[in-house]
């Protein structure tokens, strides 16, 4: 078992800035030395250099406290980082029958899959891959192994767009990640069933620094379902994640994330970047369904002309949860297309902030994109900020946005009651219907069932709150 460096006792001024709500815009973590190592195909040197630089940032920065809009604060200050450590378990073997961690066993649907990699805390504990896909050159392994093997895709793409110096937790991820997941689908390979990438935070005191690199070769087609889960426990834990998906020319991917860290005091700091190449397409749907404190920077970049994407998302915060999301629809070249549609709910005393940004760079002419954010509050104590915005630096484009924050409509509930549904069922139908325009686009029945079941659980848990809210209006 290894530990991350302990926090120094001295308190430095905390990081307060709005720059975190800016797109990465392809910055990446690579400097000249990293670029040279990548050019030489020296994955080990590239990784060592980037870890070293990230460590320097980690050691000189404080736990972030972000404020913006004058009223929103996301603070990791209560996290006792010095008490956390990266926990390691028995490494994965070729034995595909390795038992799943409990949280994964409870959540993952029984269904056909192309492959699966499971990371518990700091270790990859299970890897399986359809042998016929392996024979066609598909590679699914730990990211550590990919780096050690000198994977060309690793050298080419690792940390190409993920930064490592914006804050302490991002630097921690880049410096200390272990295990990790690497998926490479070679050119022309079409895979019907999804690849599953699973992260489970297993115990209090655990610092899980998860890292994922996925590369879709030209004209490949595949699906990825990523699960971020946790066991139930008392005490603090941390999940950081750096996720990169690169789609080369003409590649197509349907990507879905299911995130539910449950009721434990787990702090999440995640940055996910999806980059779409020439004539490539990505349908991306994160379902963010819980966690004590969750901050997600989700960026979908169309890198080259002809790239297209559909960026959907749902979130549901409850109890005392804080969910801070920043979703970017970035167009670096045109013509390109985009369609961003998020829906979310907040119950209990939770707070959820969804900031969505369309950014169209100079030269990305003939880009057409639309951003909409719709939310519903299920409690008088819940708070939602829905902030759509547009930054356009080209003059032959169409970009628009819209958003709404609403409450449950009592007339609709009465309508359903008048047809025989009791109030609880009516509220459930109403909220499920609210999510349906996005949820139905998962186009994957087993995963849809998992998400629907979790939403139903959350609604059941919030029932008294919803009733009190209705009575008070």
């Amino acid at each position: 078992m290894s530990s991350v460096p302990k926090e120094t006792a001295a308190k430095r001024p905390r990081h307060r800035e709005a720059t975190l709500y800016q797109p990465l815009a392809g910055a990446g973590a690579r400097d000249g030395a990293a670029a040279s190592a990548a050019e030489d195909g020296d994955s080990a040197a590239l990784l060592a250099h980037l870890r070293e630089r990230a460590l320097a940032t980690y050691e000189t920065s404080e736990l972030p406290v972000w404020r913006r809009s004058g009223f929103w604060t996301t603070s990791y200050a209560p996290l006792d980082l010095g008490a956390l450590e990266v926990r390691h378990h028995e490494p994965a073997t070729a034995d595909a029958a390795a038992p799943l961690p409990d949280a994964a066993a409870r959540t993952l649907p029984e269904r056909p899959r192309a492959g699966r990699i499971v990371q518990l805390d700091g270790s990859v504990v299970s890897i399986e891959l359809d042998v016929s896909l392996a024979a066609r050159g598909v590679r699914l392994c730990s990211l550590e192994d990919a780096a050690a093997e000198g994977s060309e895709a690793f050298a080419r793409w690792y940390s190409k767009r993920l930064t490592a110096d914006r804050h302490k937790l991002e630097a921690a991820n880049a410096a200390f990640w272990s295990g990790g997941a690497f998926l490479h689908v070679p050119a022309g390979v079409v895979v019907e069933d999804p690849f599953e990438i699973v992260h489970v935070v297993g115990a209090p005191g655990s610092a899980q620094h998860a890292r994922v690199l996925i590369v879709g070769g030209p004209t490949s087609e595949f699906r990825v379902h990523e699960y971020t889960l946790a066991e139930s426990f008392d005490g603090q834990a941390l999940h950081t994640e750096g996720f990169e998906l690169y789609l080369e020319d003409g590649a197509r991917c349907r990507l879905a994330h299911y995130q539910d860290l449950g009721s434990a005091e787990i702090y999440d700091s995640t940055t996910r970047v999806v980059a779409v190449g020439r004539d490539a397409f990505c349908h991306w749907l994160p379902a963010l369904l819980g966690g004590h404190l969750v901050r997600q920077h989700l960026e979908l970049a169309v890198m080259e002309a002809g790239g297209d994407m559909a960026f959907r998302g749902i979130f549901f915060a409850e109890n005392e949860e804080l969910l801070d999301m920043f979703a970017v629809d970035l167009h670096e070249a045109g013509p390109s297309g985009g369609d961003v549609h998020w829906r979310g709910a907040a119950a209990g005393s939770s707070r959820a902030s969804m900031e969505g940004l369309i950014k169209i760079n100079p030269g990305a002419q003939q880009t057409h994109t639309y951003l909409q954010i719709h939310t519903v509050m299920l409690s008088p104590r819940a708070r939602i900020d829905a902030i759509p915005s547009v930054l356009v630096s080209a003059d032959d484009v169409s970009a628009s946005h819209g958003g709404s924050v609403g409450e449950l409509d009592e007339d609709v509930i009465f309508y359903m009651q008048s047809r025989g549904l009791d109030r609880t069922a009516a509220v459930r139908v109403l909220v499920e219907g609210f999510f349906e325009p996005v949820l139905g686009q998962l186009a994957d029945e087993p995963l849809e069932a998992v998400v629907r079941a979790r939403i139903a659980e959350k609604l059941a848990a919030a029932r008294e709150d919803i009733e009190a809210y209705a009575a008070g209006r």
């Binding site: 009592e410 609709v412 009651q417 008048s418 025989g420 009791d422 139908v429 325009p437």
Partner: protein, 251 residues
């Protein structure tokens, strides 16, 4: 005792009394028309009968199938066999008509309805209302025209097979063809299922397709005049003003 008995019903919204003592009895198989000008309390009566929480009953009782349902929850009234076709049906995005109907039917049953039985019911209802089968795959009332909404209401009524239905201005906003389709649908349900109905309307035209046995005129929160079909003809000739003058003592 009639299937539905409304006794001396007084209803208010916030501090404003809308219904000021309504008595009405409706049996299965009977067609009643309730007519009155805007603001007379017709829709308040409809919503109160189904238990809308915004309407407070301050006096009187509603008896349905021998049970006092004055305080019952809306879904309990529906399960007992009451139905309201709304004047302004709300939309429920993300929920198809077919799925909603399956949920509503299952809410009234011990065991969920079988796929085959449900499909059979749905096909008969679709035929009755002269709509395309694909209509039932659309989210309920979401983006519907006025006519489609009213058809969807009657489609639900056909599927849920209530004992007594209240049709709150179902004829408003319908063109003549849609009106005929909807009205004929109601008439067929009346004939085939023994449906009892309270048809609330401003106008006479729907009553050309569904002949009421009983006609009630409501003014200022009270039923001031009762009769048969001849009342409809009188209204056509004289309008509400004449009746209002005759009953000026109470209105």
């Amino acid at each position: 005792m009639a299937e539905l008995e409304i006794r001396d019903l007084h209803v208010r919204i916030e501090e404003l009394e809308i219904l000021k003592g309504v008595d009405l009895s409706i049996d299965r198989g009977e067609i009643h028309a309730l007519m009155g000008p805007n603001g007379s309390g017709k829709s308040t009566l409809a919503n109160t009968l189904l238990g809308h929480p915004n309407y407070e009953i301050t006096q009187g009782a509603i008896i349905f199938a021998g049970q006092d349902i004055t305080e019952a929850e809306p879904h309990e009234r529906a399960k007992a066999g009451l139905f309201l076709a709304f004047q302004y049906p709300v939309s429920i995005p993300g929920v198809s008509i077919a799925n909603f109907l399956r949920m509503a039917i299952n809410a009234k049953r011990e065991e969920p309805i079988g796929v085959k039985e449900f499909r059979g019911l749905l096909e008969r209802a679709v035929e009755l209302l002269d709509v395309d089968r694909s209509f039932t795959s659309r989210p309920l009332n979401d983006g519907f025209s006025g006519g489609e909404k009213k058809r969807a209401e009657i489609l639900q009524m056909a599927m849920l097979a209530p004992d007594i239905a209240i049709l709150d201005e179902t004829d408003s906003g319908l063109d003549i063809d849609a009106l005929r389709t909807v009205a004929e649908g109601v008439a067929k349900l009346h004939a085939s299922q023994g449906l009892g109905a309270l048809i609330i309307t401003h106008y006479q035209r729907i009553l050309h397709y569904i002949k009421p046995q009983f006609v009630h005129i409501m003014l200022d929160g009270r039923i001031v005049l009762r009769g048969g079909e001849e009342l409809v003809e009188r209204l056509e000739r004289e309008g509400y003003d004449q009746i209002r003058q005759e009953h000026s003592a109470v209105v």
